[in-house]
Symmetry: C2
Subunit: 717 residues, 2 copies
C-alpha cells in the first residue's frame, strides 16, 4: 500500500483490500464473520433489559392496552382527563406500587419499579410523567422524607390515588438552585403550626403536575424557620383543595396552560398566603421541630442534610434515563424498518431502486445512533442497579449515594439529549411520512423535549459531574497545590511526554504508513479506554490548573476564573459520561458468550467508541493522543464499521423487544414493502406486456445511433 | 509567557494578559473597543433585511394583525378553517401577489415577494406554508409552466383564492426523485384528452396542502405519454372537486390527518383513475402535444427540459431559507432577552445571583448561534438576490440557473437545520418556561421541523451540491483522469507540500509558543477564507480520487465507489455551504462603514468562522491546515470572542427588528426582570428590618468561632 492511497477507503480497513479497491460485501469480509440471522436475540434482549427484565416485560405487557394509549387528536382538556383516568388503571393493575413498603402493599422493589416505570413511555409520556408526579415524587416524598406516622396517614391515599398530589419544589424564580427557593415555613409556637408563605411572585411554585386541576394536597418545599433561625429547605404536607376541588383558604394557583408536549398533565402554579398546617405536617425524617420550636436533625451539617433530602429525587433521573432509551429504540425501530423497505433513486441499476439503508449516509445516520442507544441502555441499567443498591439499603453509605448522584447526573443528560437527537434523525430519515402523527415520532419528541431540563437541567447536572471531577482530581493532587497541578498540566500538554507516559497504547511515527495497524489500533478496547479516560483526566487537569491560579483571591476572582473554563468543564463532564457509557457497553459485551453475538456487539461498541473519538478528533490530535495519520484513517474505518453492521441493523433494533402494539408506527409495519412490491409488479407486467411506452431519452439515444450508422453507411457507399 | 501556561485563557487571547491572569471585562480589553449602545442598529438592520427591506417591513406590519396569529389551543379542524380564512386576509391585503405579472395585478417583483413571504412565518408557519402552497406552488406552476391562455383562464382565480389549489407533485413512492414519479398522463388522440392515472398506491400524490379539504383544482405532475413515447414529467391542470366540495369522477383522496406541526394545513393524498382533461390543460411552456399527438418542446434535451421545469420550484427553497432565519432570530430574541434578566446561583457574590448570560457556557450556547443566524440572514439575502436576477430575466442563462439551484441547495439545508437547532437551544436555555406555549418556541420548532425535508430533503439537496463540487472539480482536472487526480490527492495529503502550496497563510513551527500570534492568525479573514475554501477543495479532490478509480467499470461499480464516500460528500457539501455563508457574512461586514458597528460585526463573523473550524478541528489538524499548538489555542480564543460579544448580544438580536407583536413570547418581555426586582426588594427590606432569620450555616460558623475563641481564652487563663 503506497502513500498515494492514504485517503482511499481500503486504506483504512482492517481487512485486506480487494483487487478492485471497492468495498467488499459482507460475504467477502471474512469467512468466519457472523451472518444475518446468526445472532442470539434472546441473549441481547436480556442484556438490553437488564436486571429487572421481568418487571419491564410486565410493564410492556400492560402498555399494550389501548386504554393507556395516547389519542393524538384529543385537545388539552380531554387529554388531561384521559390521563387522569389512566392513572386509575395503573392503580388497578398494581403497576406503580413496586417501590413502596410491603406493609402498604408494595414490594420494596426499587430497581424493578423504576425499570418498569421507564417503559411506560411507550403508552404515552404524559401518562408516564403524571404517574411519576403522583408516585415517584409526591408519594415518594411522603415515604422518604416522612416517618411512620406520615406513612400511615397519607401513603395509602397517595398510593390508591384518592389523594392526587403535587410535588411543590420548583418555583418560578428557582429551578435548578433548590437551596435558594423563597417559600417560607415559619413555626408558630403559639399554635404549634407552620405558616407556609410565598412572599413574592418568584416564590410561587410552578410547573407542578397535578397543580392545575387534580391535586388535593402537595408536598411543599420551603425554608424552615423556627426561633429566628432558617434551617434550610424542608418538605411539608399541605392540603390544597377541598373535596369539591376548590382551593383551601390562603392557597391559590394558575394553570400553566398549553405546553410544547406532555399536555396530558395539568401543570400549574401554586401560591400560599400564610397558610397554616399542623407542626406534624413537617415530613420530619431529616429534621424536626419540637412543640417549643426547638429544631433537631439526625444530620448535623446543614449542607449534607440538604443533599440527603434532595437525594431522594434521584429516582426521577434514573427513570428518565430508561424512558429516554426506550424512546430512542422506538424511533430507531421505525426508521430502520422503513429504511429496509423504502427504495429511492436508481443508483446501481436501472432495474430497481436502492433500499435506503444501503446508502452509506443513511447507515451513518441510523446505525451510529443505534450503537449509542445500546450504550444508553447499558448505562441506564447500571444506573438502575446502583440506585437499587442504595435505596434497598444494601449499599447506602455517603460514598455510595454520592456515586449514585454523579452517575445519574452523567447518564440522564446523555440519554435524554440522545433521545431528542435520535427521534429527530429517525423522523428525517423517514422523510415526509416521518412528520405524520401516524408515525408518532414527532409527538414523542415533543413530549420528551422537557426531559432534558426537568428533574435537573442537563447542563446543570453536567456541571455537578464536572465539579465532582475537579474534587476527585484535587484529592489526587492534594489541595490543588499550584506546583503539582502545573507539573501535571505540563505533562499533559507535552505530546512527547504524554506519549512516554502511555506505553500501553504508545503510537509513534514508526507505524506511519500502515493503515491496517491504525484500524487495529482503534479497535483495541485498551486503546479506546485509554483515549476516553485520558481525555477526561487531561481536560480536568487543565481546568484545575486555571482554578488553582485563583486560589485565595476571594469569591469573585475564583468565580471569574471558574467561569473562564465553564464551557470546557461541561464538555469534560460529558466526556466522563461517555466514558461511563463505554465502560457499561464493554461490560455488557464481555458478558455475552455466544460468539457471533459477541462479535457483532463488539463492532457496535467499536462504532460507539470511534464515533465519540471522531466527534472530538481535534482534541485528540492537537493533544498528541491520536497521530495525524491515524486521524485521517479513522473516518473510513468508521464508515466501514457501519457498513459491516448494516445487515444486522434490524435484528439489533428489534432485540430491544418493542412489539407492534408498542410501536404503533406505520413505518414499522410492512406497508411500504407491500407498496414497493405492488409498484415493482406493475412495471414488470408492463414490460412483459410489450405495451410499455418507450422513454424519450432511450429513443433519442437509439435514433442518434441509427443516424450515425446511416451516415457511416452513406459515407461508405 | 512561558510554556507552562499553554492552556491558560490569557495565552490565547489577542490582547495583553492582565496582571491577575483573569479575564478582562469589556472596559479593560482596549480603550478603543466599542461600548454597548455604540452600534448603529439601523445600519445592521438594513444589512440583515437585505435588498427588499421595504417589502419585508410591509409584511411584518401585516403580521402584527392578531387575526393572522396562531391560536395554539385550536384543534386541527378549527386551525385549518382559521388558516383558510387568513388566506382571504392576505388576498385582501394584497400581500401575496407581488411576484405575479402586472397585467394580473401583480408587481413582477420576485425578490420582494419571496422576502416578504419569508417573514410571514412570525404570524403562523401554517399560514405561511398554506399561502406558499396556493401562490408559491399552485399559482406559480400555472404562471411558470403554463402559457398566456392558461394565465388568462386560471391565474385570476388562483390569485384571488376562488380556486384553492393543490400542487400534486410528490407521490407516496417518490419524494426527492421527482423524475421517477409513476402517475401517467396518456394522450388520447381520439378525444384530444389526457388521461391522468395513478396505477398503484405508491403513485398516489401525497402530503399535498389543500388536498384534504379546500382544493378545487390541482397542478398534477405526471409522465407525459403520447404516440407510445414517454416524454417525462410534465404538469397538468386538473379540476378535483366540484362547487359542493365533492371529488369529481375518477378523483379520490384521503386526509393525511394530524402531523407533527403545521396542523393549520389540510395535507392529503389524491389518486386519479383514468381522469380525462382537455389537451389544453397541459401547462405547455416547455413541452406541448399537438392535436394529432405530436410532441414538441423548445428544449431539445429531455434532461435539461426536466431540470428547467423543476427549476421553477427553487423559490420555495429561497423563501424557506428566509423564514428559517427569521424563526432563528425569534427564538434567540426570546432566549437572549431572558438570559439578560434571569438570575440563578450565587457564583461571585452572596448578595445577588448571576445573570444567565454572564455564564460562559450560556454565552457559547446563544451567542455562537446568534453569529450563525447572522450568517443565515446574509446568505439567504444573497440567495434572494440571485433568485431575483434569474426570475426577473436580468440574468437567466443556464449557468445562472444552475448557480441559483446550487446556492439554494446549499443555503436551504443549513438555514433550516440551524433553525431547529437554534429553537431547541433557545427552549433549553429558558428552562421550564421555554417549554410553555406562551413562549412559542416549541410550537415554532414543531412547525419548522418539516422544513428540513420538504421542498427538497436537506440531505438530498446537499448531495446535489456535492455532485456539483465533483463536476466543477472534474472540469478543472479534465475528465477525472486518474493521473491528475492522484497527483492532486498526493498534494493534498502531504502536509509539507500543502504548506508549501499555501504561502499566504503559511504556518510553521517557528511561531510555536506565541499564542498571541495564533489568535491573530485565526482572526485574519484571509486565513479563515483559505481554511474554509481549502477544506472543500481538499475533501472534493479526495472523493474524486476514489471515483476516478471506478471509471469505466460499469454503473454498479461506480455506484458502489460513490457510496463508499457518500457520507463525506455530504459533509463536503455542507462545508461548501458554510464557506458560502462565510463569504456572504464577510461581504456584509465589509459594506458597513460605521466603525464601531463594523468592529463588532467582525467579531461576530470571526466567531462564526472559528466555530466552524472548531467543529471540524480534527480534519484541519490531521490534514496539516492548523498546527496542534494553534488548535489547542483555538478554544480559549473562541470563548473570549463570545465573552467580548456578550455586552452586545441583545442589541445584535434586536437589530433584526422583531417587535413584541411579532415575538409574542413572555420571555422577550420585562416580566422576569420585574420578578427579579420584586424578590430583590423583598430581601433588601427584610435585611433592613432586622427581622431576617439567621441562616443555620452562618449561625454554626459563628458558634464555631465563638467556641474556638472561648477555648483559646480558657487556655490562656
Amino acid at each position: 500500500m503506497t502513500t498515494t492511497r492514504d485517503h482511499s477507503l481500503d486504506a483504512v480497513t482492517d481487512v485486506p483490500p480487494s483487487p478492485t479497491d471497492l468495498p467488499h460485501d459482507v460475504a467477502e469480509i471474512a469467512p468466519e464473520h457472523p451472518r444475518p440471522g446468526s445472532l442470539d436475540s434472546a441473549v441481547i434482549q436480556e442484556a438490553l433489559l437488564g436486571r429487572w427484565a421481568a418487571e419491564r416485560r410486565e410493564s410492556r405487557e400492560l402498555a399494550k392496552d389501548p386504554a393507556l394509549h395516547r389519542d393524538p387528536l384529543l385537545g388539552m382538556d380531554e387529554h388531561r382527563q384521559r390521563v387522569f383516568g389512566q392513572l386509575g388503571i395503573l392503580v388497578d393493575s398494581r403497576a406503580v406500587h413496586r417501590a413502596f413498603p410491603a406493609e402498604f402493599g408494595g414490594n420494596d422493589n426499587h430497581g424493578g419499579n423504576i425499570s418498569a416505570f421507564g417503559d411506560l413511555v411507550v403508552a404515552d409520556p404524559s401518562l408516564q410523567i403524571k404517574a411519576g408526579v403522583q408516585w415517584g415524587l409526591f408519594s415518594s416524598a411522603i415515604l422518604h422524607l416522612g416517618t411512620a406516622d406520615h406513612h400511615r396517614r397519607w401513603l395509602p391515599g397517595a398510593m390508591d390515588l384518592s389523594i392526587p398530589g403535587a410535588f411543590a419544589m420548583t418555583e418560578i424564580g428557582h429551578g435548578s438552585d433548590v437551596a435558594s427557593i423563597a417559600t417560607t415555613a415559619t413555626y408558630d409556637e403559639a399554635t404549634q403550626e407552620f405558616v407556609i408563605h410565598t412572599p413574592f411572585k418568584g416564590a410561587w411554585k410552578d410547573y407542578l403536575g397535578n397543580a392545575a386541576l387534580h391535586g388535593k394536597a402537595a408536598t411543599v418545599f420551603a425554608q424552615l424557620i423556627t426561633q429566628g433561625i432558617n434551617h434550610g429547605v424542608h418538605c411539608f404536607y399541605v392540603p390544597i383543595r377541598d373535596e369539591s376541588g376548590a382551593f383551601l383558604p390562603g392557597v391559590g394557583g394558575e394553570d400553566d396552560g398549553l405546553k410544547g408536549g406532555l399536555n396530558g398533565i395539568d401543570n400549574g402554579r401554586l401560591h400560599f398566603t400564610h397558610v397554616r398546617v399542623p407542626r406534624t405536617n413537617l415530613l420530619n425524617r431529616y429534621g424536626d421541630v419540637a412543640e417549643d420550636g426547638t429544631y433537631t436533625s439526625p444530620i448535623d451539617s446543614p449542607g449534607r442534610r440538604f443533599f440527603t433530602m434532595l437525594g431522594t429525587l434521584v429516582q426521577g433521573r434514573v427513570s428518565l434515563s430508561i424512558a429516554a432509551t426506550t424512546a430512542s429504540f422506538l424511533g430507531l425501530h421505525g426508521a430502520i424498518a422503513y429504511g429496509e423497505q423504502r427504495r429511492q433513486f436508481n443508483a446501481s441499476s436501472p432495474e430497481r431502486e436502492e433500499v435506503l439503508l444501503d446508502y452509506q449516509n443513511h447507515q451513518r445516520r441510523l446505525i451510529d445512533r443505534l450503537a449509542r442507544a445500546y450504550a444508553d441502555a447499558f448505562s441506564s441499567n447500571e444506573l438502575a442497579v446502583k440506585f437499587d443498591d442504595v435505596f434497598s439499603g444494601r449499599a447506602d453509605t455517603d460514598v455510595d449515594r454520592q456515586e449514585l448522584e454523579t452517575l445519574a447526573a452523567a447518564v440522564k443528560p446523555l440519554t435524554t439529549w440522545n433521545a431528542l437527537d435520535t427521534l429527530q434523525e429517525a423522523r428525517e430519515a423517514c422523510g415526509g411520512t416521518g412528520f405524520m402523527a401516524k408515525n408518532r415520532v414527532t409527538q414523542l419528541r415533543a413530549d420528551l423535549d422537557v426531559y432534558v431540563t426537568f428533574e435537573g437541567d442537563n447542563t446543570v447536572l453536567l456541571q455537578l459531574v464536572g465539579k465532582r471531577l475537579l474534587t476527585d482530581y484535587s484529592k489526587e493532587f492534594g489541595r490543588l497545590e499550584v506546583g503539582a497541578v502545573s507539573r501535571y498540566v505540563v505533562l499533559q500538554a507535552s505530546d512527547a511526554l504524554h506519549r512516554a507516559g502511555l506505553p500501553k497504547v504508545v503510537q509513534t511515527v514508526a507505524d506511519a504508513g500502515s493503515e491496517r495497524r491504525s484500524a487495529n489500533w482503534f479497535k483495541d478496547p485498551a486503546v479506546q479506554r485509554e483515549l476516553l479516560e485520558d481525555r477526561v483526566r487531561a481536560k480536568t487537569a487543565d481546568i484545575a490548573g486555571t482554578l488553582s491560579g485563583a486560589r485565595g483571591k476571594g469569591q469573585q476572582a475564583q468565580a471569574e476564573a471558574f467561569n473562564t473554563r465553564q464551557h470546557e468543564l461541561v464538555e469534560a463532564a460529558r466526556n466522563h459520561a461517555e466514558l461511563l457509557q463505554w465502560e457499561a457497553f464493554t461490560r455488557a459485551v464481555d458478558a455475552i458468550e455466544d460468539e457471533a453475538t459477541a462479535t457483532v456487539l463488539t463492532w457496535l461498541r467499536d462504532l460507539f467508541a470511534l464515533r465519540l473519538i471522531e466527534d472530538d478528533l481535534g482534541w485528540f490530535v492537537a493533544h498528541g493522543r491520536v497521530s495525524s495519520q491515524r486521524a485521517r484513517a479513522l473516518r473510513g474505518y468508521v464508515n466501514r464499521l457501519a457498513e459491516r453492521l448494516r445487515p444486522f441493523a434490524l435484528e439489533l433494533v428489534e432485540a430491544y423487544g418493542l412489539e407492534q402494539k408498542h410501536l404503533r408506527m406505520e413505518v414499522a409495519t410492512d406497508v411500504e414493502a407491500e407498496r414497493q412490491e405492488e409498484a415493482h409488479r406493475y412495471f414488470e407486467q408492463l414490460r412483459a406486456s410489450g405495451t410499455a411506452p418507450e422513454d424519450e431519452k432511450v429513443l433519442r439515444e437509439r435514433q442518434r445511433k441509427e443516424a450515425k450508422s446511416k451516415a457511416s453507411r452513406l459515407r461508405r457507399s
